[in-house]
């Protein structure tokens, strides 16, 4: 039984590597997205296929092997693992969940994960979202909508949220991709100089290009064939799922004293993003 498990996971992971090499050939972000979407379906089908292959014999055996109490406990362990991992806001890899928590329960992985998602939604009001179907990376986002007029959390605001908001708004309002200089120039006008140590943020360049990128709020990509090397910023995978473009546009409108609809292109993009996220 254990040997069979190993072979299943090998095939599964080789699927992942093929998909990754395909991803590298993609040129623009939008192309990436459409490719990912199409490959999500492909991948899920394959996964289901594998799982359906093992359903007949392996899952049955697995279910018999483990008692309901054990499975309950495993679900709880995965929930706790994800909650702790989410503290730093660095996305969680499925491989880590498998390696550290699920281990020998791999056969009933899908069942466990379904129950985990349900637990998050019903108990915590959180949603476990897969931001990268290729590499199977998850984040936790809040399912509850914030109520205007009431504070989102009782804790004092984290200044980095403000910094992130500034960068994300500039990228979004400028069409989705900007050169890094635009970010640095805008921040300089806000008395945040990447060359100097800032009172609240410390090494600003590191926070923006390293921390935010690792948390997948931003993407910091090299522009090819530039000498000296230049980088550009885009929205990261986490930002796509976690940030409401419509609310962001509303706030920008408030700051300018303008109707958000006056930025027609951006408004259109924000509306479509909102409806598609509400669908999921």
């Amino acid at each position: 039984m254990s040997i069979h498990f190993v072979s299943v996971s090998c095939v599964y992971y080789s699927q992942g590597s093929i998909a990754m090499s395909q991803k590298k050939k993609a040129v623009s972000a939008s192309q990436n997205k459409t490719q990912r979407r199409s490959q999500v379906c492909l991948d899920e089908d394959d996964e289901d296929a594998h799982f359906s292959q093992i359903t007949s014999s392996q899952v049955q055996r697995a279910r018999e092997h483990f008692t309901p109490v054990q499975i309950d406990r495993k679900v709880a362990e995965v929930v706790q693992f994800i909650l702790i991992k989410d503290q730093k806001k660095i996305p969680i890899r499925r491989a880590d969940i498998g390696k550290h928590v699920i281990k020998e329960y791999k056969g009933i992985y899908t069942e466990i994960m379904n129950r985990v998602c349900r637990t998050f939604e019903q108990v915590f009001g959180l949603q476990l979202v897969e931001i990268d179907p290729k590499n199977h990376i998850y984040i936790l986002i809040n399912k509850l909508e914030p109520i205007h007029g009431e504070p989102v959390s009782m804790r004092p605001g984290n200044p980095k949220t403000g910094l992130l908001f500034v960068i994300l708004s500039v990228i979004f309002m400028k069409g989705g991709v900007i050169k890094e200089n635009l970010v640095w120039n805008t921040l300089k006008k806000l008395r945040v100089d990447p060359g100097e140590k800032h009172d609240e943020f410390g090494d600003v360049k590191k926070v923006v290009t390293d921390e935010f990128v690792r948390q997948k709020y931003l993407e910091y990509v090299k522009i090819p064939h530039t000498e000296p090397v230049e980088y550009e910023f885009r929205w990261g995978l986490r930002a796509e799922k976690e940030v409401s473009k419509l609310k962001l546009l509303e706030f920008v409108g408030e700051l300018f004293g303008q109707d958000p609809q006056s930025w027609t292109q951006q408004f259109r993009e924000a509306s479509t993003a909102e409806t598609s996220s509400q669908r999921t």
Partner: protein
């Protein structure tokens, strides 16, 4: 068909405008002929020597470089739809171009008159390629979507290639910017200006502008109050669907050995210091009291003896009666011990009376013989409890002549 020459010393940006009425005469190409009066259009001098002047050329090159730098550094400002800085730069470039050393030669292909009616400007393109050193400027004529031909070839001969290269570089930058600016205009709705965005953010965060603000562009006046970024963060949080970070409400239970160790060490250190400090004083006290006690005792006994003798100087004091304490044997021994000091120091003398019993008397000051020629006898007095009681019975000693010392507070 007019004989008028078509001459455009224009800038590439204006080529779109000048291409409208294109009809021209056929002119033979004379690229190498700089002295041709037809080609005066380039500049006031028009002739070689002045334009070859290296200083003037260096000047022109450096001005071009300045313009290029200006465009590169102030890219953001130039993009601002509110100003016309880009146009200013291009006008500067125009001047350099015009005052420079670049000659234009035009060649126009012969255009059949009958096709003139179909002329329709569809597209116009001009590019400058330094490597080829000429411009191709052409207009497409279409009739019923059928390309009839390409007319109009403008040959630009560039003599001083380095200046042309700089001009080309400047042009590339300017057209890039121009393209971006145009895209801003073409976009539906308002443009987005990051500088204005920054200004609005500063106001939102509660920027305190200093009163004597000069109000120059790019001048960072004022300071942000404490908690400015928190203020922005609190408002921005609405845009995020962040899951709250998970933390145990009462903190996690983690037994940590290091802190207790520190406390123990500190406590241990303190007592040892104090103990050390106490020790010397204690020792000192003991030594002093020990010495003092003996000396004090000796003096006290001398005082007693002298007072007794003062009362009745005739009657001798029996030694035994003097030292023995009928109530305490140890006291008696102490008295003997202390009295021996007095005798040793020559302050008291002991003698045998007529009955053969020892007597004790203080030495008068005059009797002391300096120099110590006094004959000293030594004797050992021993006493035990039995003899002590016998002496008490024999002499019928009721009370001690030497009063017991006050109990020391040790």
């Amino acid at each position: 068909m007019s004989d008028s020459k078509r001459r455009s010393r224009g800038n590439q940006e204006e080529s779109a405008g000048t291409s409208n009425g294109l009809g021209g005469r056929n002119r033979p190409e004379r690229p190498g002929d700089m002295a041709d009066e037809d080609d005066i259009g380039a500049g006031p001098s028009g002739i070689s020597e002045e334009d070859d002047d290296p200083t003037r050329r260096r000047e022109i090159r450096s001005k071009y470089r300045d313009l290029i730098n200006q465009v590169q550094q102030n890219r953001e400002d130039m993009l601002n739809p509110a100003n016309n800085k880009l146009t200013d730069v291009l006008e500067e470039a125009n001047k350099l171009f015009a005052n420079g050393i670049i000659f234009l030669h035009y060649i126009f292909l012969y255009l059949p008159t009958e096709l003139m009616q179909f002329r329709q400007l569809v597209g116009c393109m001009a590019w400058q390629s330094f490597a080829h050193t000429y411009f191709i400027f052409y207009v497409l004529y279409l009739h019923d979507h059928l390309l009839l031909g390409c007319y109009g070839l403008c040959l630009l001969s560039v003599r001083q290639a380095r200046e042309a290269a700089l001009d080309a570089q400047l042009l590339v930058l300017a057209t890039d910017l121009g393209k971006e600016k145009a895209s801003q205009l073409h976009a539906e709705g308002s443009a987005f200006d990051p500088s204005a965005f920054a200004e609005h953010l500063l106001s939102f965060m509660g920027l305190n502008r200093l009163e004597d603000e000069s109000g120059q562009d790019g001048n960072l006046e004022g300071y942000l109050p404490q908690g400015a970024w928190q203020r922005l963060a609190k408002r921005s949080e609405y845009c995020f669907k962040t899951a709250p970070s998970f933390h145990y409400m009462l903190g996690s239970f983690l037994a940590e050995p290091p802190p207790p160790r520190q406390r123990v060490e500190r406590q241990r250190k303190v007592p040892s210091k104090e103990a050390k400090r106490i020790m010397p004083t204690q020792l000192k006290k003991m030594e002093e009291s020990h010495q003092e006690a003996t000396e004090k005792e000796v003096e006290r006994i001398l005082g007693c003896l002298q007072s007794y003798f003062a009362d009745d100087s005739e009657e001798p004091i029996s030694y035994y009666e003097f030292v023995i304490d009928p109530n305490s044997f140890s006291r008696t021994v102490e008295n003997i011990f202390h009295t021996s000091f007095l005798i040793r120091d020559g302050l008291v003398r002991m003698y045998m009376d007529t009955d053969g019993l020892p007597c004790i008397a203080p030495v008068e000051e005059g009797e002391m013989e300096p120099g110590g020629a006094v004959v000293r006898h030594q004797c050992v007095i021993s006493i035990n409890q039995e003899s002590w009681r016998e002496i008490i019975d024999a002499f019928d000693i009721k009370e001690a002549l030497i009063p017991a010392p006050e109990v020391l507070s040790q």
